[in-house]
């Protein structure tokens, strides 16, 4: 998976800034996308292109259980979020709904990757290659269940009985 990075060098990007509460009544995915990151970055849509990644700090997606958050990001074109850590419901929603990949990274990757860098994420080797800077970082492997749900294409396609 190859794409460019939009970096928010901060912790605790919460669901209220990813998709403000006033839009919880909206269930049209394309419309939700138009409001993605509205609470934090009015220029989000001019920065993000289909297939891009977001890079951020600790506790990404904290706050509400709103599935609108991964939906708004994924329908804006975001394919993966790279973060030092994730809030649990955001993480779970991203994977179970097959909206985007939540990738846990270490400090080296966080510090090494800059806004605009082109990177390649390989979840089979757990490696992130920074093609712009010619560096390689490790990502934290997915837990067994998460890996299986991702491989299946979401919770509804995952068949626990066939394990």
């Amino acid at each position: 998976m190859k794409g460019n990075v939009v970096k928010y060098a901060r912790d605790n990007i919460d669901t209220d800034v990813i998709i403000p509460g006033q839009y919880l009544k909206v269930h049209d995915y394309a419309e939700l996308a138009t409001h993605a990151m509205e609470g934090l970055d009015p220029d989000f849509h001019s920065k993000i292109k289909e297939g891009d990644f977001i890079l951020s700090g600790k506790n990404f997606g904290c706050g509400s259980s709103r599935e609108h958050a991964p939906i708004a990001l994924s329908h804006s074109g975001v394919k993966a979020i790279l973060a030092l850590s994730f809030a649990r419901i955001f993480y779970r929603n991203s994977v179970d709904g097959a909206f985007l990949l939540p990738i846990e990274i270490d400090q080296d990757a966080y510090d090494g990757i800059s806004e605009g860098d082109e990177i390649n994420i390989d979840i089979s080797t757990n490696e992130i290659k920074n093609l712009t800077k010619n560096q390689t970082y490790k990502m934290k492997p997915f837990s067994e269940i998460i890996g299986k749900i991702i491989a299946a294409g979401g919770l509804f396609k995952y068949k626990p009985d066939q394990d």
């Binding site: 605790n12 919460d14 209220d16 800034v17 403000p20 509460g21 006033q22 919880l24 009544k25 909206v26 269930h27 995915y29 609470g39 934090l40 600790k58 506790n59 904290c62 706050g63 509400s64 259980s65 709103r66 599935e67 609108h68 850590s85 809030a87 649990r88 419901i89 779970r92 929603n93 179970d96 709904g97 837990s143 067994e144 269940i145 979401g154 919770l155 509804f156 626990p160």
Partner: protein
């Protein structure tokens, strides 16, 4: 095993489970509201296109539905969502649908205990992050997103990683005019807003023994703000009496074993707590009220699943009785049953005499939806649960989180005020 492990072992048909085990647990109760319900319908539409049958639920008697976020309907879109929700419950045979304008209704987490919808030992999932609230009754209560709720509705179970448990031993009774909200803000301030991430936060000790069920609900409610998977209190006689008073008597108490293991134990001297606030823009940005910044408040908001239970209103009334508010103040009881008790016991008169606007039950401005959202630069003190940028309205508004007593005292003075300075 501790209480959570015992509940998850029972629900997954295993003799024992340990932290990090992945289980598929049978669900006992599931809740949706006017945001997650239409969200689940959207998932159903997607599934239908993939050829997955969505024509009947696994067990409609285990499903209940609240209308709370955008009610009374804030605009056309909200009204359409309420219609969708009504059609949903009708088409799928869900009878427990609390509709506004038709007797009892209110915020989902408040109904979970006011209506005794959830029992000790239950695996209870809800399409809302503050589902954690109901762990105060001794249930494993967890918030999930739309896809997961849709999965539960169709299959009756869902995967969980068995969480590690952090045990919070609370020592001693809270002092007068200090509330459970102060205590949970103190805890979140200490451990940080990811300090409980992916874990259970269990509360116990003499501070819990002395605490009402409603106060315990406040503690569990805000475990979400520490990133916890769930909050829980082992059920005791107070819980049994509480549920009996709501007409529920048929339940099995589950408690942890004497040799239950906890990943970490924290101790807090609840008897030495002081009123505490969380400053913008995070629930862990706390300070004691005596060190609060001297800001001119525009508004006081007493509402939400966190801060508008009957006990919360009673505490606010103690402060507001015979006084007048100096800033705009709204009180929104969290359910009709609470509204009614507040009327019968004279609280509404105290509020109205003080100049407060009393509104209907709704999540309202807590999540920036409607009914009192904040304008740019407005500063609010609020009994709600989060104060991220834009949470209650404009991204450049500010929210200070507090107990109902601090919010009421601050309403009287227009500044962040310790209730003990007024009483």
């Amino acid at each position: 095993m501790n209480i959570v492990e015992k509940i998850l072992a029972r629900a997954s048909g295993k003799s024992s489970v340990a932290p990090d085990d992945v289980v598929f647990a049978d669900v006992d109760k599931v809740m949706m509201h006017d945001v997650s319900g239409p969200g689940v319908l959207k998932v159903f539409d997607k599934l239908k296109k993939q050829g997955i049958a969505v024509d009947k639920l696994w067990d409609p008697t285990k499903v209940w539905v609240a209308e709370d976020h955008f009610v009374p309907s804030a605009d056309k879109l909200s009204a359409e969502n309420i219609v969708k929700l009504s059609n949903f419950t009708k088409n799928y045979g869900i009878e427990k649908h609390f509709k506004y304008g038709m007797g009892q209704y209110g915020i989902c987490h408040t109904l979970s205990h006011e209506q005794a919808m959830v029992m000790p030992g239950d695996v209870y999932v809800g399409g809302d992050s503050h589902t954690n609230t109901t762990g105060a009754l001794g249930a494993f209560a967890v918030g999930l997103g739309h896809t997961d709720i849709a999965y539960v509705l169709l299959n009756g179970n869902i995967w969980f990683k068995v969480p590690e448990t952090y045990y919070f031993k609370l020592n001693g009774k809270l002092p007068d005019h200090v509330m459970a909200k102060d205590l949970i803000l103190k805890i979140i301030g200490e451990i940080g807003n990811d300090g409980g991430a992916y874990r259970t936060m269990q509360f116990g000790g003499s501070g819990i023994d002395d605490m009402s069920v409603e106060s315990r609900l406040t503690l569990c409610n805000m475990t979400t703000e520490a990133g916890a998977k769930n909050g829980i209190v082992e059920p005791d006689q107070k819980v049994v009496d509480y549920l009996s008073s709501k007409g529920a008597t048929n339940f099995n108490i589950v408690n942890g074993d004497a040799d239950a293991e906890y990943a970490k134990v924290f101790e807090f001297e609840s008897s030495e707590m002081e009123p505490i606030i969380a400053k913008p823009f995070s629930p862990d940005n706390t300070c004691v009220v005596s060190e609060a910044p001297s800001v001119e408040l525009d508004k006081s908001y007493i509402g939400s699943c966190t801060g508008a239970k009957y006990e919360d209103l009673e505490a606010a009334a103690k402060v507001l009785k015979g006084r007048k508010v100096k800033i705009r103040t709204e009180i929104l009881p969290a359910a009709i049953s609470i509204y009614q008790r507040a009327m019968e016991n004279g609280l509404l008169k105290i509020f109205l005499d003080a100049g407060v606007t009393v509104g209907p039950p709704t999540c309202g401005a807590c999540c920036g939806a409607h009914m009192g959202v904040l304008a740019k630069d407005e500063i609010c003190i609020s009994t709600t649960n989060r104060n991220f940028p834009g949470r209650m309205g404009h991204v450049e508004s500010q929210t200070y989180l507090s107990s109902p007593m601090v919010a009421a005292a601050s309403a009287v003075t227009g500044k962040i005020t310790d209730p003990r300075d007024l009483i």
